[in-house]
């Protein structure tokens, strides 16, 4: 019998992933063993340190990474230039979202629900429906903070975030479909839970979580079904093996395209591409805003990173056969996002539709199986992610006594009350609309010109029309903020704590920088292609 040789592992290449996942495990232990009042500071410190260390490790490795990338962990992980870029994107966006999640000053105690025990101890806390008060406070393990303060949030959200982030990093680097599926579940399950954890409007939040979970489970099932079919076709789940099998064989294509169709349903669902978008508005609205920011920015990166890799590596050679279907999907997504966004009266839902439209634009970039398409997509993801995080950060600041004021009418005349906030929001909305000198324009330009040079002119036309329609609803918010009378019982603008301030500032600065001087980042995004 020949001895088994374990596959070689390039630890330097996968170190960032290992650090994040390791920190997630440690985070679970912290949750289990630390007394309650120490958890919040410990979890925040751990998560921040983990992400920063992972980022530094990534930076050090990327400094002299091989241009062709490496395939490691027994060919399950491809750490190539796009992977490195996406990892970097995920880490910085994750960092920004983490700051929003950790904030406890905007919403006293944090945006996430406190445990039932603590809510009871703090008396009739907001949001708890029938929590009986009068429990003897001496028997309750009082959380961090002075008595009388709102109870602090459940700190489980930090391990959730880290696991989801680790899952996303594995998702974009997965070199075979099974790894991709495992990563998909690792990233999805924490997200389902995070959706249901809002401190306010509990029912809306829980409903969102259930919807997301059920539809997500369906999408995962489709994905798995697709994997099975593709395995039947190629005899392997490795992406490059599927590509090899598709070239120069007389095998029936039914398995290949049936498999692709089902596989892509699962992926498009995660990227909230229409018509698989139905969960997006409800979930964006119901989830706690920091979690929405995390989902909107990072899930999008992960999903489109994976879509780009699958289409590029496994299905690049057969693109003429499947492109027609994806054209239809992209058009549907852009039109749905732009047209339905027009009618929204809730800001978070509006941003959800905007994300659906943006998903359509992104699909243009991923469909262009060229170097320009890949780098355009990567750049777009980074730009969009930062803008979105900042937008949600701003949304979390405008509040009434009942929590966030997300109804559009409540934003009327906000510029008179808080010119700075209105100015920043205007800038971000212009970026989402793709006005020049913001990252939105550069990103759209990169993706559209890549799509155009790969023969997708009609799609680009639709994309521009959709952008124009979408610009209308962004501008409506601007008009409302500047040109309307303030309602008498309008919301107040909270002064953000350090965490939220940093997250918003980061988003705004990057949005501006990528609009004015995008060269450096574009060069990174275009440093190399996918390796199979």
């Amino acid at each position: 019998m020949t001895p088994l040789t374990p596959p070689p592992i390039d630890y330097a290449a996968v170190a960032p992933l290992l650090i994040v996942l390791g920190a997630a495990c440690v985070s679970v232990l912290v949750e289990a063993f630390l007394p309650r009042h120490q958890r919040w500071p410990a979890q925040v410190a751990l998560s921040v340190v983990a992400i920063v260390v992972a980022g530094v490790t990534l930076g050090v490795y990327a400094g002299d990474a091989p241009a062709q990338g490496v395939i490691t962990l027994g060919s399950t992980m491809a750490v190539d230039m796009p992977t490195l870029f996406l990892w970097g994107t995920l880490l910085v966006l994750g960092f920004g979202s983490l700051l929003l999640i950790a904030d406890r000053s905007v919403e006293p105690g944090g945006a996430f629900v406190a445990s039932a025990l603590e809510r009871a101890s703090a008396g009739a806390a907001p949001g708890s429906t029938t929590g009986p008060s009068g429990v003897d406070p001496e028997h309750v393990d009082r959380s961090y903070g002075a008595p009388g303060d709102a109870p602090t949030m459940q700190t489980e959200v930090f391990p959730f975030t880290l696991f989801a982030l680790g899952g996303m990093m594995a998702f974009v680097a997965a070199n075979d479909l099974l790894t991709m599926f495992v990563a998909l579940e690792v990233l999805s399950l924490p997200l389902y839970l995070m959706c249901g954890l809002a401190r306010r409007r509990r029912l809306l939040s829980q409903e969102a979580a259930v919807k997301y979970f059920l539809l997500g489970a369906f999408a995962s099932a489709f994905f798995l079904y697709g994997v099975a079919l593709l395995y039947g076709y190629a005899g392997s789940v490795r992406l490059s093996a599927i590509a090899e099998a598709a070239v120069g064989t007389d095998r029936s294509d039914a398995l290949l395209f049936g498999g692709l169709a089902l596989l892509i349903v699962g992926l498009l669902f995660k990227g909230s591409v229409g018509p698989f978008h139905t969960w997006t508005p409800d979930v964006y609205q119901g989830a706690p805003t920091p979690a929405t920011a995390f989902m909107a920015a990072c899930t999008k990166v992960a999903a489109f990173g994976a879509i780009a890799r699958v289409l590029y590596v496994a299905f690049g050679s057969t693109r003429w056969e499947w492109r027609g279907v994806l054209w239809a999907v992209a058009i549907a997504s852009m039109v749905i996002g732009a047209v339905l966004g027009l009618t929204q009266t809730d800001l978070k839902r509006m941003i959800a539709y905007s994300s659906i439209a943006h998903a359509g634009f992104l699909l243009l970039g991923t469909m262009a199986i060229t170097q320009a398409g890949t780098s355009g997509t990567l750049f777009y993801l980074l730009a969009y992610g930062f803008t979105t995080i900042a937008v949600f950060g701003i949304i979390s600041l405008v509040r009434t006594a009942d929590g966030e004021a997300t109804h559009l009418s409540q934003w009327a005349g906000l510029a008179k009350r808080s010119p700075l906030l209105a100015g920043v929001m205007t800038f971000l909305l212009l970026a989402l609309a793709g006005i020049p000198l913001t990252s939105g324009f550069t990103a759209k330009f990169a993706v559209f010109s890549a799509a155009l040079s790969d023969g997708m002119a009609p799609l680009v036309v639709v994309a521009l029309v959709a952008s124009a329609i979408a610009a209308f609803f962004y501008l409506r918010v601007v008009v409302l903020m500047y040109f309307s009378e303030t309602p008498a019982d309008g919301p107040t603008v909270s002064v953000p704590g350090a965490f939220t301030t940093v997250a918003i500032t980061l988003g705004v600065v990057v949005t501006l920088l990528l609009g004015v001087a995008p060269t450096l980042v574009l060069d990174w995004a275009g440093a190399g292609g996918f390796t199979g």
């Binding site: 369906f218 780098s375 501008l475």
Partner: protein, 790 residues
């Protein structure tokens, strides 16, 4: 040049600091930069007119995307600098007095006007299509903010949004066109595209043609050409200095300038010059006709501007040497007469409190200086000799008469007649003494308002009397176009070309126009008779309203917040996309075995029956049992098909989940929420969709497994290698040897799940012991358990 543009924007950003001290000083500071721009432009005149290449500069922006800032100063640029810089400085000075010392609007307007001047400067100097697009959109945004003002009035808001929508939509169409043209020409440099096209190497083919037409759409929307023109009269809701600057002198010229820049390359293509000539002429006539009936002096001028823009469009699109000379002259002339006319309206409005034709009377006698300035400007507009407008109009008639282009020549003649008529109407409306109207008592006019007006109007006279100044610029610009004969090559602007047809045209225009004005009662009657419900404004409203209604309808349909609907959309998409492919592309395998062994039949039936029953169940506990039954039956199928290892795992997982479920159910109500009653039709639809989806999955499994051509290689290998592992039984070999690690993993997962279940058991006990009221939802009480267990 970039430095100059950036300086505008930076100073504009800092201007609020100045206006905090003095609002008037803010306008003064703002006026310095445009004035400096004018000086800079005129200082570069020798370089522009000289034989060498035009001054230009390039700054890299994003090399990876081939984005760069490219600027170039040519004759067209100099003329536009006179309008943007020269008139800009005058209008800013005028604004200082227009807005008053304590106006709350002054700080915003001073900063925005200067920022706009910077963007506009960038636009007219841009030699790179993408640079041009960037500044194009910036001017749209500045215009939006300037028209919207404080947003206090509904008219302002609506006009601002309409102006923005129309120009930004046009801008986006243009962006697409720019990218197409840029990609097919291989460069975004306007000068390079023009040079290549003139050597016959311009962008060609259907795609490039589409791109060129898209660029043209952008130009037409920005310059308020028919049928996009209604936004311009609407934008008159802005303060008068803003209208004078943006909507007369500079911004609306952007489209014309773009056509002027690209015409040397595309003027010989029919899809370029035909739309320009037709729409330009229609715009000129529609605008002129509407101007004849407006009673608001400002709207009268606005329609006049629409008309003149149409005229300019026709001239710039002509691609003819003389026509282009006329174009550049008219461009300059229009800025120099329209801006003072607007300023006059502003003054009239200021000193009398109205700008309605019917309410003003005898103002000419009270304010003779102002009336003289207005007459000078209006005369230039009407094309009276010794004024710049006359030079331009003569050249325009000459261009089309010389070519024998009678349709256009007569069309322009008709347009000019209208122009004369509404020029007269303007003067009459503002200054004449009208019978039956009480004489208006104006307040005195401050010099701060009248001096800039005079300067602008007087410049038109000077340039009109000294043609060579303008002639040099115009000929320089027109040199880019081929001259078809010696007459065209030698054409110069002059006050006297001898007795010729164009002179006759001018005379006819003046006489008929004056007659038209004298017969204004009849003309108005005709206008009323011709009134019709179709208008471009109505078209805009219907479009915008229609999109809103459509969006509401679609949202109500598919985003109802209902999970079944969402799932339905998901399933439907899967059915439509791969489903159709399966129906059309898939082939059933030649032999489909009915069943492998008899045992499969009852198991299959159990699964189907349980699944069907699940949809009708009301009790949670029953539902869990049925789900469990399906799981066990599938496990049974694994056994029958020879996969006892899989079956084992399946049974274990099913058992564990059932146990976990039961513990969870203790805390939930016994029955499912009944929810609102749904109609029979909806139920049937759901059932049909579910059935079709199920059938699709089943058929797909059969068809796709039939598509497999090679037998699974791994199974044979397992059997062959089993003895090697020292096992008689293949299954045992697989479980403990080939896939030993998997087995360990499975066992671990099972253990963890079992531990979780056990902890649930313990937790429930704890609840019972503790105070019963602590658990919020559901029971945990004995009665509750009884209810669950039935």
């Amino acid at each position: 040049m970039l430095a100059l543009v950036v300086a505008h924007l930076v100073v504009a950003a800092l201007l609020p600091l100045v206006s905090r001290r003095s609002r008037r000083a803010a306008f003064g500071v703002a006026a310095v930069l445009p004035a400096a721009t004018l000086v800079w432009g005129l200082a570069n005149l020798p370089a522009v007119l000289g034989p060498g290449p035009a001054p230009s500069e390039t700054h890299v922006w994003a090399s990876a995307l081939h984005l760069e800032f490219g600027f170039r100063l040519d004759a067209l640029g100099v003329v536009m600098i006179v309008l943007v810089g020269g008139l800009g400085a005058l209008i800013l000075a005028y604004s200082a007095w227009y807005f008053g010392k304590d106006s709350r609007d002054a700080p915003r307007n001073s900063a925005l006007l200067l920022a706009f001047a910077g963007a506009m400067l960038g636009l007219v100097l841009a030699d790179d299509l993408l640079t041009l697009y960037l500044f194009w959109e910036l001017t749209s945004i500045a215009s939006f903010l300037l028209v919207g003002q404080g947003g206090l009035h509904r008219a302002n808001r609506r006009a601002a949004v309409q102006a923005l929508l129309v120009t930004v939509m046009g801008g986006l169409a243009m962006l697409l066109g720019i990218v197409i043209v840029g990609e097919s020409a291989g460069t975004y440099r306007i000068s390079e595209i023009v040079a290549a096209a003139q050597q016959g190497a311009g962008p060609a083919g259907g795609l490039a043609a589409t791109g060129i037409v898209l660029i043209l759409i952008g130009a037409l929307t920005k310059s308020a050409q028919f049928p996009f023109h209604p936004w311009l009269p609407g934008a008159m809701a802005a303060p008068t200095p803003v209208s004078a600057y943006l909507h007369a002198a500079s911004m609306v010229k952007a489209g014309v300038v773009l056509v002027g820049r690209l015409s040397p390359a595309f003027a010989d293509r029919s899809y370029w010059w035909v739309p320009i000539a037709v729409l330009g002429l229609v715009t000129m006539l529609v605008g002129g006709w509407r101007a004849l009936h407006e009673t608001d002096l400002k709207r009268l001028l606005a329609f006049g501007t629409v008309s003149q823009l149409g005229f300019l469009m026709v001239l710039f699109g002509s691609g003819d040497r003389i026509g282009e000379i006329a174009a550049l002259t008219m461009l300059l002339a229009h800025g120099l007469f329209k801006a003072p006319l607007f300023m006059v309206v502003g003054i009239v409005d200021k000193v009398t409190g109205t700008r309605e034709v019917g309410a003003l009377s005898g103002l000419g006698r009270r304010l003779p200086g102002l009336a003289a300035a207005a007459t000078l400007a209006a005369a230039s507009m009407a094309g009276i000799p010794f004024l710049l407008g006359f030079l331009g109009k003569e050249a325009a008639f000459e261009a089309f008469v010389h070519d024998g282009d009678w349709v256009l020549a007569l069309g322009l003649l008709l347009g000019s007649i209208f122009t004369v008529a509404y020029s007269a109407r303007f003067l009459w409306g503002a200054f004449a003494t009208k019978a039956g109207v009480e004489a208006t008592e104006p307040r005195p006019v401050v010099p701060g308002l009248s001096v800039p007006t005079w300067i602008a109007a007087f410049t038109g006279l000077v340039l009109g009397c000294v043609p060579p100044l303008t002639d040099a610029l115009a000929r320089n610009y027109a040199a880019a176009y081929p001259a078809e004969d010696a007459v065209a090559a030698d054409y110069h602007l002059a006050l006297w070309h001898g007795l010729s047809l164009p002179l006759l045209f001018s005379a006819v225009a003046l006489i008929v126009g004056a007659t038209l004005h004298l017969q204004r009662a009849r003309v108005t009657g005709l206008h009323t008779a011709l009134r019709h419900p179709l208008s471009a404004q109505r078209g805009y409203e219907v479009t915008v309203g229609g999109i809103e209604r459509f969006a509401v309808w679609v949202t109500g349909r598919i985003q109802a917040g209902s999970l079944p609907v969402y799932l339905g959309v998901l399933l439907l998409t899967v059915l439509v996309l791969p489903g159709l492919a399966l129906v059309f592309g898939g082939t059933l395998p030649a032999t489909v075995p009915g069943y492998g062994s008899l045992m499969q039949l009852p198991l299959g039936l159990v699964i189907v029956a349980c699944a069907a029953a699940l949809t009708r169940v009301r009790r949670r506990f029953t539902a869990v049992l049925l789900v469990g039954a399906i799981g066990y039956a599938i496990g049974g199928l694994f056994v029958v098909d020879g996969g006892p290892d899989l079956a084992l795992a399946q049974f274990l997982v099913e058992t564990l989940t059932m146990v976990a479920f039961v513990f969870v159910l203790r805390r939930l109500p016994a029955h499912f929420d009944a929810g609102p009653r749904v109609g029979r039709g909806i139920q049937l639809r759901k059932a049909a969709l579910a059935t079709v989806a199920g059938v699709f999955v089943a058929v797909a499994a059969v068809v796709l497994s039939g598509a497999r051509q090679e037998p699974p290689a791994v199974s044979g290998e397992f059997v062959a290698r089993a003895p090697e592992a020292g096992a008689d039984n293949v299954i045992a070999a697989i479980l403990v040897d080939f896939r030993a690690l998997d087995t360990v993993g499975e066992i671990t997962v099972l253990l963890i799940a079992a531990a979780g279940t056990a902890s649930l058991v313990l937790a429930t006990r704890h609840d019972k012991k503790g105070k019963s009221g602590r658990v919020e939802s559901g029971g945990g009480t004995p009665e509750h358990e009884e209810e669950i267990a039935g």
